[in-house]
């Protein structure tokens, strides 16, 4: 396994210009798409099968009467423990040697279980191709010594690309500096590899709590309960089986009849 790559999106540097959205569309040759009315500049409420990078705009009035307009370029988190990958029954969703998560469009059969299993609601179903889509971490670019298109185009370096360990160290320094500068709610999201989902390979610096950005406060791997749920089903089966046996049991001797 090669050294893990990551994207660090520092929302304190984001000016909401949407160059990342356009670069992503252009590089991935994504087709035309109707925007949605969200009541703000944000052109989709959430990711779609044709929008892999989405800039979120959150107006948040502050206690002192001032306004905060939180700008965040959101993307697939490429989780170290990925719900989509665990859900895929065809093996179409795989992890590259760089730690990024990709959906092989030649294998995906469109069952949409991955769509239901992303704690962030990232994966989307493309009704035209019948397959699931999401950010590929510019898979072709990273295999040719280039970074993702969004990182390259970002004019303020809000989106940074590099080795995960180096970016994580940078992020820690950055959040400390922001706190010093007075951003008391500045926090990292997804940096900690001992944290939720084993850490995110596309992690963030937020200026407010995650729920303000419509992110789950503590994302969990959806498949964490398979064993428990299965055991409960087994229990149910046993009880049902016992009930059925009691209903059909012949008094005195068993199974005597011919079919």
């Amino acid at each position: 396994m090669a050294r893990t790559l990551a994207m660090f999106t520092d929302t304190s540097l984001c000016i909401g210009c949407r160059a990342c959205q356009v670069a992503c569309k252009q590089w991935n040759e994504l087709p035309l798409e109707q925007p949605e009315w969200t009541g703000s500049y944000q052109n989709h409420a959430h990711f779609t099968d044709k929008t892999y990078r989405l800039v979120r705009f959150v107006e948040k009035p502050k206690e002192n009467g001032e306004l905060a307009w939180l700008l965040m370029s959101d993307v697939c988190k490429h989780c170290a423990q990925a719900g989509c990958l665990e859900a895929c029954p065809t093996g179409a969703i795989y992890r590259t040697e760089y730690g990024t998560v990709n959906i092989n469009q030649d294998v995906c059969n469109g069952c949409r279980y991955c769509v239901s299993s992303c704690p962030f609601g990232v994966v989307a179903f493309n009704h035209d191709t019948g397959r699931a889509n999401k950010c590929t971490f510019c898979n072709d670019r990273i295999h040719n010594n280039l970074g993702p298109a969004c990182a390259k185009t970002c004019p303020t370096d809000s989106i940074q690309f590099g080795y995960r360990d180096e970016l994580a160290a940078k992020a820690e320094k950055r959040v400390a500096k922001l706190k010093e500068m007075g951003h008391k709610d500045a926090q990292l999201y997804g940096v900690d590899t001992n944290g939720p989902l084993g850490g995110l390979n596309a992690f963030f610096l937020l200026l407010d709590r995650p729920s303000t950005y419509n992110l789950p406060e503590k994302p969990l791997l959806p498949q964490r309960n398979v064993l428990a749920d299965s055991l409960l089903s087994v229990g149910s089966a046993l009880l049902v089986g016992v009930g059925a046996v009691m209903a059909f049991r012949e008094r005195g001797g068993k199974g005597g009849g011919h079919a």
């Binding site: 000016i15 210009c17 959205q21 009315w37 009541g39 703000s40 307009w69 700008l71 004019p155």
Partner: protein, 832 residues
Amino acid sequence: MTTNLIDIQNSDVIMCTNNMAENHPVGFQWVMKAKERGAKVIHVDPRFTRTSAVADIHVPLRSGTNIAFFGGLMSYAIQNNLYFKDYVVHYTNASFLIDPGFKTATDGGGLFTGLEQTGKGGADPHIAQTYNKSSWKYQVDGDGNPKRDNTLRDPSCVFQLLKRHYSRYTPEMVERVCGIPKAKFVEVAKLYCGNSGPDKTGTITYALNLTQHTNGVQNIRALCMLQILLGNIGRPGGGVTALRGHANVQGATDLELLYHELPGYMAMPLRDVHPDLKTYLEKETPKGGFWVNKPKFFVSLLKAFYGDKATKDNEFGYQWLPKRASADAYSHQHMFVDMYKGRIKGFLADGQNPAVGGPNAKLARAAMQRLDWMVVKDIFITETADVWKTPGTDPKDVKTEVFFLPAAPAAEKDGSLTNTMRLIQWHEKAVNPPGDVTSDAEFFVSLAKRLQKLYAGSKKERDKGFLATSWTYGDNPKEPSMELVLKEVNGFATEEIKDKDGKVVYKKDQALNTFVHMTDDGKTAGGCWIYTGVIVEGPDGKLINKANSRKPADDKDYLGHGWGFSWPANRRIIYNRASADLAGKPWSEKKKLIWWDPAADGATPDKKGKWVGLDVPDFNAFLAPDAKNGDKPFIMRADLVGAFFGPLNDGPFPEHYEPMESPTRNLLSKQQNNPVVKVWQVPDKKNELAPLGSKDYPYVITTYRLTEHHLSGVMSRYLPMLAELHYSHFAEISHELAKEIGLDNGDRITVMTPRGKIHTKAMVTHRLKPFKIDGKTVHQIGVPWHWGWKGVDALPGSKGDITNDLSATVADPTVYIQETKAFMCNVKKGEV
């Protein structure tokens, strides 16, 4: 801009008065870098925008009150001794004494001394009255030099007049006029003015937020005056950050695609004022400052136009040059009013979409529908090209014959772009244009040659000039060589030039290295003197195109002199002499830029001393600080100093006047509007203005741009990837106003002014808030203007109503720019 985008990282405080993050996102990275270094960012804007989102302080200001704001800051700086005294005393005209007959607007009820009625013009103040500037001058001594008081105490000195003029601009007044709470204004004044002096600098950014007003020029003057008051010009992290609104509009103005100037910022001759070359040069050449060289630049320009046909004997072709019949004519707005009145028969729109992009767009479209013919050259079929079938117009009623010629965008042609920091960058053709598509150069050269053929036998005087123009740019009959065009712009020797010792300095046709080598005797040609140096010839005669050089900035050269070419002479920060004190030392080590090195080699082997440093000196490199004029940084001005007192058409000091449509009487004085504002009388009620206090139009409206779209939308609304970034056209409305009208976020609404009405979608937001103007609530809305009826059919939101249908035909008296940033409107729920 006088400085350089990269240099913004050196600012201690940055005051963005425009929406820089949204409209200059790439340049804005340097503001972010300044923030990393501890700079504070102030954003002054009626709306809370994406710039405000990353600024430290947002200052909400009612549209149209920028002079009140800047005046308030100047007054605050003066009252609280925050100005940079040494800089002000020595590098500006603050100490100069003014004719005692001159009185400021404080004593003139909002007017300066000398306003006279002309007896003409009636309803157009621009013609009906004018300022007699006879008292707007310095007191001079026996030698003709301005009298000065370096203590700045003489009541007639500019500084005291400035103080008197802005004495009305108190923090209380700023609150009443601009709607900025007093405490916030004082906070900002302390922060911005406090970050000045020898080791602090600040820069102010602006764009069309300041220009598109009937007080546009004075808005910018006020900004510049504040900057010289605080000693920020010519220093790292300082300067005036004028942000041009288009990738090459700087190039467009440098090469003067404007009606009133010729390339290199020289006046377009006026027929009656400049009847011959001698008179032109006499009247237009000042007695001091670098413009004393104007004759060299002007004659070289004529040589570039007319080639060998321009000689000493025929005034270098001066008589062939078209002249202006009047100074009050030919601007965009003049042209469309004339077009509507039927005085213009034909029109060529090259890469411009006045059907959408110009003020009073309904009038513009009606005007174009009265033309006999129109040629539209553009990359898409625009609303202008389709004006003959504007929705609501029956094509049968329009007799205009329209020719559409497809144009090549930047990637399909060679050429240069000059950006907001005067940086000329070359781009090479990446792919051939398809089919009939031609570049502008190809079109114009080919058109010129065809016209010359057409007029070949003509004996008419007026055709001689055109027939004399030279269009030789290489051997390809179809495509001109853009590098040869650049060479002509740069300038070259028309014949062999020798120095006084007989040594050949330039071979015939060799590119000039510097505009200093231009002559007024016809030996040099140069299409735009400020560009000289962009292209030079190597020893082998091959052209070295500096606009194409791409050496990135590094620690040794943070300004990146190896990347592109920045006019003039690759100087990145102009007026940089001002970064050093009278003795030639930087004002501080932290803010060093250039300095005098007495030990360096001088101009000749026997002399010593040179200006050195981190930038090309914007100064005679060998002029010692203690030599005559060695302490005067503002070399382009006749008196070589920065001007607080600057005799413009509407006053030597900026004075706050209300926009032509306003929600309030002028609280600063009895003079409601700019006394010499240009207002056109247009037939058929096509330019009605809302009277003061009109109940029909109670809300202030401002129009602006978004990151995702470009100007009239031709470069963005046809491209799905861009067109889909915004759901549709919208108007931003405060929650408070929405509640009053009964609007929900997303409702369809009608916005109307006396010129027209549009239907759009309400975006109700916290980012707009009502103002308290003189104690009364004044609502303001904002509407972007990128939409027109054409776009991507599959994306209905890419099409929308034309915001400019709402704006009026009124103009600043100096440059005739429109007032699209502040006027009045009404908003109704539903599509009325």
